[in-house]
């Protein structure tokens, strides 16, 4: 920070700064706040206000269009704690999350390492890897529901043709989670790989050269130099995929063989928390209860994201 834009005006002989100078000073002082203001306005409206208001609504028996909601205190939360379907949804969400985020992260880092080599036509490979992110989730849901279709799906056809049993991708709880996780992995691995790649390219070259001089092989360099230095980015990727993964909604909704259903399968076998929230709020019109679900999910996300944050940091430190 040797020189910055803002300079204290030097001592000058003139007593009063001219109008032009005062305007320029004012410009320098106020501009930064103007430039960052849009974010804070938008966040206030779509982030902070809803979060607080959701907390408020969650203490009422509040139906859509109801003018006199009844105050329940913690009633919604008490009911939620004893709600078997909610815990079932939490289980589904966690199961899908574990099946998707873990493998995805490992593959993304390896993929980034490959993309970081001096490839021919680097842009082509990067676009190819990012393509799934461009796929619309609705399209994706339909395509994967189709691929994993129990009767006519391509995957079951392939399984049968190599002599294996067909799998009930919809009806079986674990199999349905696996199918949905596949969808998530397919869509997000390339995206995360590119974020990791951007960080890899920003790493200082001299450290890597020093490691080469010291005789470290490529694998050793990757684990002992690259990975630890990527820690901030890995933390970022882990946190964002935790937040996204635990809010998963579109994939399970569209995977359902019953179109338009919010049940997450005939026995709720793949109903996630956000899907349950949607069902309570916009199918059952119980906004108070849905808000309580929202807050419990938020707290759950904070706890798990924090845990992942500490874990990622520690793993980096050991290396």
């Amino acid at each position: 920070m040797t020189s910055t834009v803002v300079h204290e005006p030097r001592q000058r002989v003139r007593v009063r700064p001219s109008l032009k100078e005062r305007l320029a000073n004012w410009d320098v002082k106020v501009s930064p706040y103007l430039y960052i203001a849009p974010f804070f306005v938008v966040f206030g409206v779509v982030g902070l206000f809803p979060l607080l208001y959701t907390a408020y609504v969650s203490f009422f028996d509040w139906e859509i269009g109801d003018d006199n909601p009844k105050f329940l205190g913690f009633g919604n939360y008490v009911e939620l704690m004893g709600d078997g379907q909610f815990w079932h949804a939490v289980g589904n969400t966690l199961s899908i999350f574990v099946l998707s985020s873990g493998p995805q992260l490992v593959v993304a880092v390896l993929l980034a390492a490959l993309l970081n080599m001096r490839l021919r036509g680097p842009t082509g490979w990067r676009v190819g890897v990012l393509l799934p992110y461009a796929a619309s989730l609705v399209a994706l849901g339909i395509i994967f529901a189709n691929l994993f279709g129990p009767r006519y799906g391509l995957i079951n056809s392939l399984l049968e043709s190599v002599g294996l049993d067909r799998v009930e991708w919809q009806a079986n709880r674990f199999a349905s989670h696996l199918a949905i996780a596949t969808m998530v992995n397919w869509r997000w691995t390339g995206y995360n790989a590119l974020i990791v790649l951007a960080a890899m390219q920003a790493l200082p070259k001299d450290v890597m050269e020093a490691a080469v001089v010291d005789g470290a092989g490529p694998v050793r360099r990757f684990f002992s130099v690259t990975l630890p230095m990527l820690r901030p980015t890995l933390v970022f990727v882990v946190i964002t995929s935790t937040i996204g993964g635990l809010q998963i909604f579109t994939e399970p909704k569209l995977f359902d063989a019953m179109p338009g259903s919010n049940n997450g399968g005939s026995t709720n076998q793949f109903q996630t928390v956000t899907l349950y929230l949607y069902q309570q709020g916009f199918e059952g019109f119980d906004l108070g209860y849905a808000s309580a679900i929202a807050w419990v999910l938020f707290l759950l996300i904070v706890v798990i994201a924090l845990g992942n944050f500490l874990l990622t940091r520690r793993m980096g430190r050991i290396r």
Partner: protein
């Protein structure tokens, strides 16, 4: 420097090729079904070459839903959101990276922390607010909440820190440029690659957004994703029809992403 570092061999290309093929497959599969008829799905070994029915199926899409209207709505929403996100993120990123002002560090940390707040969970109060404003069912209800993102501000700030030297900004000031003029003439030209990537990510995100439009828009004023969802919400799902729709809906975004990727990446990957 040792030239053998990072020189890829056959296996690297093979691994990448497999990955890209897997990435492409669902796109190809949906085109395949869309270009035939639904009977292909019941065949034991499905054919792997496209048939000749794509345009017929595509035409049926336009009959089944208001595809043009949905497409137009999506272009308006995603276009506006992309423009404002890139502009506001670049401005805020410039302020955080190069301007000194009271509270700049804590405010930036705050923005990074907000990444952890799942805004998706705020849909209920946001819906109530939009209904009170009379915006429910109108496009601004989808546009306004997405005018600028924390990710965008973070991304642009990280880029501007390195990409724009202080000397340039100093020089502009000595020449009598206002702060905004400095932003337009000095900062904007320097950050084009990062802005293009952000634009691409934002456009994709907005184009594919589903939950919030589903809640706040009406079926007669849909975005493209809602129109797609409607295509499959009968009791009998005509997969050729639905997948023709998804193929059509994917074309614009493939064009946008290939263009902006080709423009941005080679430049941004030059070592500073």
């Amino acid at each position: 420097m040792n030239t053998r570092i990072g020189r890829p061999n056959f296996f690297v290309y093979a691994a990448l090729t497999v990955f890209v093929l897997v990435s492409l497959f669902p796109f190809y599969w949906s085109f395949l079904v869309a270009s035939r008829d639904t009977s292909m799905l019941s065949e034991h070994i499905p054919p792997l070459l496209p048939g000749g029915n794509f345009f017929r199926n595509a035409a049926r899409v336009f009959d089944a839903v208001e595809f043009w209207k949905a497409l137009g709505n999506s272009v308006i929403v995603s276009g506006t959101v992309t423009l404002t996100t890139v502009l506001f993120s670049a401005l805020a990123g410039f302020a955080f990276a190069k301007l000194r002002f009271r509270g700049s560090n804590p405010l930036f940390v705050f923005i990074v922390v907000t990444l952890a707040v799942p805004t998706q969970l705020g849909v209920i109060p946001l819906f109530i607010a939009m209904a009170d404003l009379g915006w429910a069912g109108h496009l601004q209800a989808v546009i306004v909440p997405n005018l600028v993102t924390a990710f965008g501000v973070f991304w642009m700030r990280q880029y501007i820190v390195d990409a724009v030297p202080y000397e340039l900004i100093e020089a502009a000031r000595v020449d009598g440029c206002s702060v905004f003029r400095t932003f337009v003439s000095v900062v904007l030209p320097a950050i084009r690659p990062a802005a293009a990537i952000l634009a691409m990510f934002t456009f994709m995100m907005s184009w594919n957004d589903f939950l919030w439009p589903l809640i706040v828009l009406n079926p007669d004023n849909p975005t493209i994703q809602l129109a797609l969802e409607r295509l499959q919400s009968g009791y009998y799902v005509d997969y050729s029809l639905v997948l023709a729709g998804t193929t059509l809906a994917t074309i614009p975004i493939l064009i946008v992403s290939s263009c902006s990727a080709a423009r941005s990446w080679p430049a941004s990957c030059k070592a500073p």
